[in-house]
């Protein structure tokens, strides 16, 4: 239990800091910490493979990409100076409304959980789902979805290359 609270606390605090930061490079690093905590939670949920994948894919690949972009763009800190000159709906005030909504969502979800009941007992004892079982399901029952995602990745890759490519210097 204590381990759960430790990981949960790390995840929540790190996530909060992610959105509290003005410097995106710290946001990225804190998010990695949050992912690490989530990875620990996955281990506790008997999902070691997801835990490791979380590290390899999220922390090791996606976040490196973010870090790269932050470095490439020289991580400009957030600009606030033109707030006064913009449309009223775009000022920071209305944006805090979004945060209020987020809080409302948490309340609603908690309410839903209490109303639904159940889910309060410990998890039923079960074998750790092996990598073999996951692989088997992935390549049989979910084979179509797997292929679709691979096409998605391919498309995204081509799209990213084209979008990020510098246009050739015009003669």
């Amino acid at each position: 239990m204590t381990l759960f609270y430790l990981f949960a606390a790390v995840a929540v605090i790190a996530s909060l800091l992610v959105i509290a930061q003005r410097n995106p490079i710290y946001s990225v690093l804190l998010l990695i910490a949050s992912f690490g905590a989530l990875s620990g939670l996955y281990v506790m949920l008997d999902a070691p493979f997801v835990a490791v994948t979380q590290i390899i894919v999220y922390a090791g690949a996606i976040m490196v990409l973010f870090l790269f972009v932050v470095m490439l763009l020289h991580a400009p800190a957030e600009e606030t100076e033109h707030d006064e000159r913009v449309h009223p709906l775009r000022r920071p005030g209305p944006m805090w409304f979004g945060a209020v909504l987020a809080a409302a969502l948490v309340v609603e979800l908690l309410w839903a959980l209490t109303r639904a009941g159940g889910g309060t007992g410990a998890f039923p004892a079960a074998e750790v789902i092996s990598v073999r079982a996951i692989g088997q399901a992935l390549f049989t029952d979910y084979a179509f979805q797997f292929e679709v995602t691979s096409i998605l990745i391919l498309v995204a890759m081509v799209g990213a290359v084209i979008l990020a490519k510098r246009e050739a210097a015009k003669p």
Binding site: H87, L89, R90, P94, M95, F97, G98, L101, A102, A104, L105, E108, W111, A112, R115
Partner: protein
């Protein structure tokens, strides 16, 4: 194995269409001819296998794949080889091969890319035609049916730079569409009525029914199918496209507009013989339409001056014969005539092509004459074809035509028989008019007409009135002509003693009328058959005689005749003014309605105003709504999120 038959020409098409423009003429022609010859070889092998089977089990089916499957509609791409389709594939691949060979020489003046384009179209046509005849259900047949229509359009308009050619192509396409409309409706109705589109299953289901005494569903189905047939096979009222189709290269006319495609309608009726057999009223209509077409086309053919037009009307007329046969239930006789006709009509067209080729594009018979000496091969083969079509024994046409007339007579349609006989007379007459005008007499008497307009665009290289340039058919053309001439003499012999009919019998299902043997037995004692035979031979010879009198011995008499009956002559020359009537009755009203009613009235008045009104309303509303669109992604996200929170809240609170 069956798949290979259409596959070879298709591959030939793909090769020539893809690479044809980059290779020499020889290569393109070799590819096309090889494709056809291989297809022919496979066809022969397949038919040999079919013949080897016992008579009641003669059907080979091959399913390529499941094509369409939707609820009860299950359609496989199946090819079926039975006696009927075996006759057809032999005709298509055999005569098709000869015409390919012929074309290598005939089209030799074309530029390389054009040459390859020609052969790719020709191959494509063969592939579609084979799909048409081999298709085991209506839909596969329809693929071929539409495909040959497309190829016909492409080939008629092959010289698309020439306006008359592209117009003729469009005309053929549009008129065919009208027929196809009937065909599609017929097919749909077949599916509604029988729940399947497979020929054999439909025939099986139909044979359980008793023939319709009144005008019922089967009659409607068959009538709709027959409308399709009239379009494709150029029958009244849709025959007007075929004469115009002569704008295409002559080998095309021979292959598509004489030997194969135009007979698709006849074949289709034969394929659905059981269905038609259960709709006697439709059969009567078929017989009457066929006879009328035969007569009308025959009369028009008598006065035409364009060598190919004569042959075109002759084709229409002969197709009328076939429909007559179908209409009186003599399916085998109709298919038999289809088969013999393919030989001699292809021969006649190719012969005329050789003449045109020799004269560098001249098609007007009045400017020909005396070509006998210069073109001996062409002449003699042409004469064989003419005798065959006239119906003189032992040439091919005699057997089939006589069979049709006999069956018509035997089925009790005496009037139709009489008209058919008259048409036979006309046939012999106009064919020999053609022969005498073209090959006999002398050219000098028509020399003064030589300010001709060149009909073929490439005809500027030779002066047609210059005898020194006359040359007989080159080797490939000569081969095709000779082979076809031999065929025109001998093709009819396979029908002796009713063998052809017996071979085809399984394809037409259980006979409704008495079999030929029965008929023979019934009529033999009176010697009716022999009498009829003698009558038709006499008629044919009479026709030849008339032609010889007017156009060989005494050409002035012909002009006098034309003058005396100038009214009739003009009507015939203008093809009964059918084109003009169609133009006034159909084309003009459609144009007027389209332009004044649909375009200026509906389109501009109603649709455009509606569209503009909607547009103005939208832009007016947008003026107001645009204020909510800040362009801020986060504001949008906030509204989406607000919606989500509210919906969730509603469900929780409820």
């Amino acid at each position: 194995m069956l798949l290979l038959i259409p596959a070879f020409p298709l591959v030939g098409f793909l090769l020539n269409a893809s690479f044809g423009r980059r290779v020499s003429k020889g290569v393109a022609a070799t590819i096309a001819c090889a494709a056809m010859l291989m297809s022919f070889a496979v066809s022969v092998a397949a038919v040999a296998r079919l013949v080897g089977l016992p008579a009641d089990a003669r059907a080979i089916a091959q399913t390529a794949f499941n094509w369409i499957e939707s609820d009860t509609l299950k359609i496989d791409l199946t090819l079926l080889l039975d006696p009927l389709s075996s006759v057809m594939i032999l005709v298509v691949t055999g005569i098709g091969s000869l015409i390919h060979v012929y074309s290598t020489a005939y089209m030799h003046d074309e530029a390389d890319p054009e040459y390859a384009r020609y052969f790719s179209y020709l191959n494509l046509f063969a592939a579609f035609m084979l799909v048409l005849v081999l298709g085991a259900n209506f839909l596969v047949m329809f693929v071929g049916w539409e495909g040959v229509g497309l190829c016909s359009y492409l080939l008629i308009g092959f010289w698309y730079q020439k306006k008359s050619a592209s117009d003729a192509g469009k005309k053929a396409f549009i008129v065919n569409r009208i027929g196809d409309w009937g065909f599609i409706l017929g097919v749909l109705l077949v599916f509604v009525r029988f729940g399947t589109l497979d020929f054999q299953k439909v025939a099986g289901a139909a044979s359980q029914l008793s023939p319709e005494a009144t005008f019922g569903t089967l009659s409607i189905i068959t009538l709709l199918l027959f409308i399709g047939a009239t379009g494709k096979s150029a029958q009244i009222p849709l025959f007007v496209w075929l004469p115009d189709a002569m704008e295409g290269p002559t080998p095309v006319s021979a292959l598509i507009h004489a030997a194969t495609m135009v007979t698709a309608g006849v074949y289709m009726i034969g394929r659905n013989a059981v269905l038609f057999g259960h709709a006697p009223m439709t059969l009567t209509i078929v017989a009457i339409v066929g006879t009328a077409t035969a007569l009308i086309a025959g009369t028009i053919g008598l006065v035409q001056n364009d060598i190919k037009k004569v042959l075109a009307y002759s084709t229409v007329s002969q197709l009328g014969y076939m429909f007559l046969a179908m209409g009186v239930g003599a399916y085998a006789a109709g298919i038999f005539h289809l088969y013999t006709h393919a030989f001699f009509k292809a021969l006649l067209f190719l012969g005329s092509g050789a003449v045109i080729h020799a004269l560098s594009g001249e098609q007007d018979m009045r400017k020909m004459g005396g070509l006998k000496k210069d073109l001996p091969i062409t002449y003699w083969t042409f004469v064989v074809g003419a005798i065959a079509i006239a119906g003189v024994p032992p040439f091919a046409g005699f057997f089939s035509k006589d069979e049709i007339l006999f069956r018509t007579f035997a089925s009790g349609h005496t009037v139709l028989w009489g008209v058919g006989l008259l048409t036979a007379l006309l046939t012999a007459a106009y064919m020999f008019r053609l022969v005498f005008l073209t090959f006999h007499g002398s050219r000098s008497q028509s020399e003064n007409h030589s300010n001709h307009d060149n009909l073929l665009h490439h005809s500027n290289d030779l002066n047609p009135s210059n005898h020194s340039h006359l040359h007989d058919a080159p080797l490939p053309m000569a081969i095709a002509l000779i082979v076809l001439a031999v065929g025109s003499i001998t093709a009819g012999w396979v029908g002796l003693g009713g063998r052809f009919e017996k071979f085809l019998e399984p394809s037409f299902g259980p006979p409704l009328s008495e079999s030929r043997a029965g008929l023979q037995a019934g009529l033999a004692e009176g010697g009716v058959e022999t009498t009829l035979m003698i009558v038709s031979v006499v008629v044919a010879l009479a026709g030849i005689g008339i032609a010889a009198y007017f156009f060989l011995k005494n050409r002035a008499a012909a002009d006098r005749m034309a003058e005396r009956f100038s009214g009739v002559h003009r009507v015939l020359e203008h093809k009964y003014y059918l084109d003009e009537i169609y133009d006034a009755a159909i084309v003009q009203p459609i144009q007027i309605v389209s332009e004044d009613g649909l375009w200026k009235g509906v389109d501009i008045g109603v649709i455009d105003r509606t569209v503009n009104g909607v547009g103005q309303a939208v832009s007016g509303t947008s003026e107001v709504l645009r204020l909510f669109h800040t362009g801020s992604v986060r504001a949008y996200a906030a509204s989406v999120f607000l919606g989500a929170v509210l919906v969730l809240g509603y469900y929780l609170w409820r």
